[in-house]
């Protein structure tokens, strides 16, 4: 179904029209039986109406969701004869027939009028059973409040149409008056009413009992409010039925008996308010609100949940009008239907059945859809929670360093594989991990946690950044299977004021000093050649470690490649723009402001962006490269990567050649060589050592060698 609602409403309309064709049978049958018809004297109708309606509503609520079928009507007709006859079978049954009825009423005014009227006619009030059913129904009525509120509105509309002496204002005043009175009395007699209702519910069942208990307690909670409202309304108006009403209030359930009483009107109103109270705080408040509204010129009784209150409130006013308009309506329809041939009626019946089936199907489908939408929302929430676990919020200060982190996922649902961590190590050192697992969403998430916590554990165990990455690379190779991860691991020593970091296929950090007098920012150099590969690409990583000195105040920015690969026109954002953006942050600017700045300058951000910014406090002093350490291998040498690295680091050409020779010699001799660069007084001094390269082979092999 394209829209479940429209066809359903149409189907309901068809159904109600068809039901109208069938309903007129009842009055005819009734007439045949000699029972009083709809045109019975108003007093009886009025008396029976509220009580009947309440019982009926609950009865039909509880009957099977048959639309406007005759079944509710027939017992109704029977019930009319003996007002005190116990309610027929349909009454006690659960389920929300009234809900269905109410719904139908919502869509078909005439049908609503019919069923309401029918219920009134039923006057089924039965002794305990009826009241019990009533109290149950009250709670159920609350459930279908919207529909009944609509009914109430419609009945009000009919009232208006009918005009007559039950003018809007007058009626409302009367109702409000009676209601206010009822509420006041109600409050006083809560206990007895409660006891009564408990008794009542005992007859009908545990469920209803508990409901009424709850309602009863709620009653006590809310009477004040409702009472005040009602009192304020009722105050200026005389109450004609106060005398008779009082007596019946004390026994709300046996209000049924009150019907026969002279103070029918008063008791009706009492019941109305009593029912409103039974609905609980919301109901009471609603009743109070409704009382206010009834006094107001506008007829807006639909707003609250306790529809039974407006419903009951308009009962009396509706009665006489309903009595006069409904028959006319019914007669008209009867005439129309009378012209229709029997076969056509059958066809209509079949169409109604078909319409109902289709309507039911679309209802089920929409319920299912709503459930799926809700589940999807919950799942997305779970993904969000997982993501939050992977992207923690570190403390804003770790020792003398201010920290901030930020993450902006690429468009689309779910995590994108970026992760970061900022935590304290022993001796006041601060560790930072930022990484990016290949792939997106569900496939990347488990690997994200794995890589982050593995590297973190190794750093906390005391391994240097390069060692941690190298070990993680070996250990996680198999687990990463088809994916890989770029990672940077860094440790800041506040006492020595040095930042030591190692990368695995990951961009190096941007280290900016405070601006100098001319506004320029000193930035520590970064050499991109001879970079180690990501974790999980079947190669050794963690083969290079860099140390940067941070003598003065500085900002250090770690990020994922989503930042530098944001698109600016046809170009990439790049490391230079990133440095400028970092420099432009103000005093308390952090990672979030940085990513905001990147977003503002870029046109597209196809990848997730994550950033971690450290604010190092201090005096003047430019950050600068301090040392580099690179593990050499034949392949890197052969490909010229080492040579490029030496050149890019600022080593004199003569020194470069010497270093390469030394490296080749060492590798040939011992199979392992380490290149070290020290940056002193603006020059780079290279040295090659035959240091034992950290072996991550299984221990057995290591021992053997």
């Amino acid at each position: 179904m394209f829209s479940a609602r429209a066809p359903r409403r149409a189907l309901l309309a068809v159904a109600t029209l068809g039901a109208c064709a069938l309903i007129p049978q009842s009055p005819a049958a009734l007439a045949a039986k000699g029972t009083t018809t709809n045109a019975s004297p108003p007093p009886i109708e009025i008396a029976a109406a509220p009580h009947a309606r309440r019982a009926e509503r609950e009865a039909s609520e509880e009957s099977a969701p048959a639309p406007i079928a005759p079944p509710p009507e027939t017992p109704v007709a029977r019930g009319r004869h003996a007002l005190s006859t116990p309610a027929p079978a349909p009454a006690p049954a659960p389920i929300s027939g009234s809900g269905a009825g109410g719904r139908h009423a919502g869509s078909g005014a005439t049908a609503g009028a019919q069923s309401a009227h029918g219920r009134e006619r039923a006057g089924s009030t039965h002794g305990t059973a009826g009241s019990a059913g009533a109290s149950e129904g009250v709670a159920a009525a609350g459930a279908t409040s919207g529909d009944q509120a609509t009914q109430g509105v419609e009945s009000l509309a009919r009232q208006k149409k009918g005009g007559g002496e039950k003018g809007t204002g007058k009626k409302q005043k009367e109702k409000a008056k009676g209601k206010g009175k009822g509420k006041e009395t109600e409050a006083e007699s809560v206990t007895p009413a409660e006891a009564e209702s408990v008794r009542q519910h005992g007859a009908s069942g545990a469920g209803a009992k508990s409901k009424s208990d709850v309602l009863a307690t709620e009653e006590q909670a809310s009477p004040t409010q409702a009472t005040e409202v009602a009192a304020s309304i009722a105050a200026p108006l005389p109450s004609p039925s106060s005398g008779t009403g009082e007596a019946s209030i004390a026994t709300a359930p046996p209000a049924a008996k009150g019907i026969a009483g002279a103070g029918a009107r008063g008791s009706r109103e009492r019941r109305r308010t009593h029912r409103a109270k039974r609905l609980g705080p919301s109901g009471a408040a609603a009743a109070g609100v409704l009382a206010v509204k009834s006094v107001a010129p506008g007829l807006t009784a639909t707003s609250t949940g306790s529809s039974s209150a407006p419903h009951a409130k308009h009962a009396a006013s509706r009665q006489p009008h309903a009595a006069s308009t409904q028959p006319a309506l019914v007669k008209t329809i009867t005439k129309i239907v009378g012209v229709v041939a029997a076969p056509v009626r059958i066809l209509i019946g079949v169409l109604i059945a078909l319409a109902l089936v289709l309507g039911l199907r679309s209802l089920i489908a929409s319920i299912r859809t709503r459930r799926l939408v809700r589940q999807r929302g919950e799942l997305l929430e779970d993904v969000g929670l997982l993501q939050a676990a992977l992207l923690p919020e570190p403390p804003s200060r770790l020792g003398p360093v201010g920290t901030s982190v930020a993450y902006r996922p690429a468009d689309g649902p779910g995590a994108g594989g970026d992760f970061y961590d900022v935590f304290a190590l022993a001796d006041g050192r601060l560790a930072v991990i930022v990484g990016d697992v290949s792939g997106h969403g569900r496939e990347a998430l488990p690997h994200t946690a794995l890589v982050r916590f593995t590297v973190r554990a190794y750093l906390e165990a005391g391994l240097a950044p390069a060692e941690a990455l190298q070990t993680a690379g070996v250990v996680l190779e198999r687990q990463l299977a088809d994916s890989f991860a770029t990672v940077i691991a860094a440790v800041y020593h506040p006492r020595e004021r040095t930042l030591t970091y190692a990368t695995a296929g990951h961009p190096p950090p941007v280290v900016l000093g405070e601006p100098t007098a001319d506004g320029a920012f000193a930035q520590a150099a970064t050499v991109t050649s001879c970079a180690p590969p990501p974790i999980g690409v079947q190669g050794r990583t963690g083969t290079r470690q860099t140390v940067v000195s941070v003598p003065g105040a500085a900002r250090i920015c770690f990020h994922t490649d989503g930042v530098t690969e944001a698109r600016v026109g046809a170009e990439l954002f790049g490391a230079e723009r990133l440095a400028r953006t970092l420099a432009s942050l103000d005093e308390d600017g952090g990672a979030t402001e940085l990513l905001d700045g990147v977003a503002a300058q870029s046109d597209a951000r196809p990848d997730d962006m994550a950033a971690c910014v450290l604010q190092v406090h201090g005096d003047v002093g430019a950050p600068a490269l301090l040392s580099e350490r690179v593990e050499l291998d034949e392949e890197s040498l052969r490909r010229g990567r080492v040579e490029r690295f030496l050149h890019d680091s600022g080593v004199e050409p003569a020194e470069v050649a010497a270093a390469l020779d030394a490296a080749r010699a060492e590798l040939t001799l011992t199979g392992g060589a380490v290149l070290e660069l020290r940056f002193e007084r603006g020059t780079a001094v290279a040295s090659v050592r035959a240091e034992n390269v950290l072996s991550t082979e299984p221990l057995a092999v290591a021992h053997a060698s």
């Binding site: 290949s438 088809d482 890989f484 991109t528 970079a531 590969p533 490649d561 690969e565 196809p606 990567r641």
Partner: protein, 134 residues
């Protein structure tokens, strides 16, 4: 398929991106790309490579001579394919564009991938005709 030397070409998209697959011999597949290798185009590269591998080619050359731009998504594709190469299979990349070379360098993959300046050199490599030190 091995043995066939016909050339399969995909139409260049409106952005001037194209994937051209050719098989110089029965064991070698050359996937040549043209244009920008970004998030949208990376899947084309992936499928071309996966097709070649599935077809049984053991010598793959990725020709990026005509590629002026590449980001980490395409890089991820290449890394993934490289990782899944069977024993005995070889992958070589032809690339001279400095921007693209920079991407390889930043990621450290220039030490893992075999990146050569010409197609001929790449073919020589994947056919195992280069002698390597060590």
């Amino acid at each position: 398929m091995p043995g066939m030397t016909d050339i399969q070409t995909s139409q260049p998209s409106s952005g001037g991106f194209g994937v051209i697959q050719s098989q110089p011999d029965e064991h070698t597949s050359v996937v040549a790309l043209e244009g920008e290798l970004d998030l949208e185009r990376a899947p084309s590269l992936k499928w071309a490579l996966v097709d070649s591998l599935d077809a049984g080619f053991k010598q793959i050359v990725v020709d990026l001579t005509q590629v002026g731009f590449m980001d980490s998504t395409a890089l991820s594709v290449l890394v993934g394919v490289n990782k899944s190469l069977d024993v005995g299979a070889r992958l070589a990349i032809v690339c001279v564009n400095t921007n693209v070379l920079k991407i390889f360098e930043l990621s450290g993959m220039d030490g893992t991938f075999v990146i050569l300046p010409t197609l001929e050199q790449a073919l020589v490599h994947v056919r195992g005709q280069t002698t390597r030190i060590g």
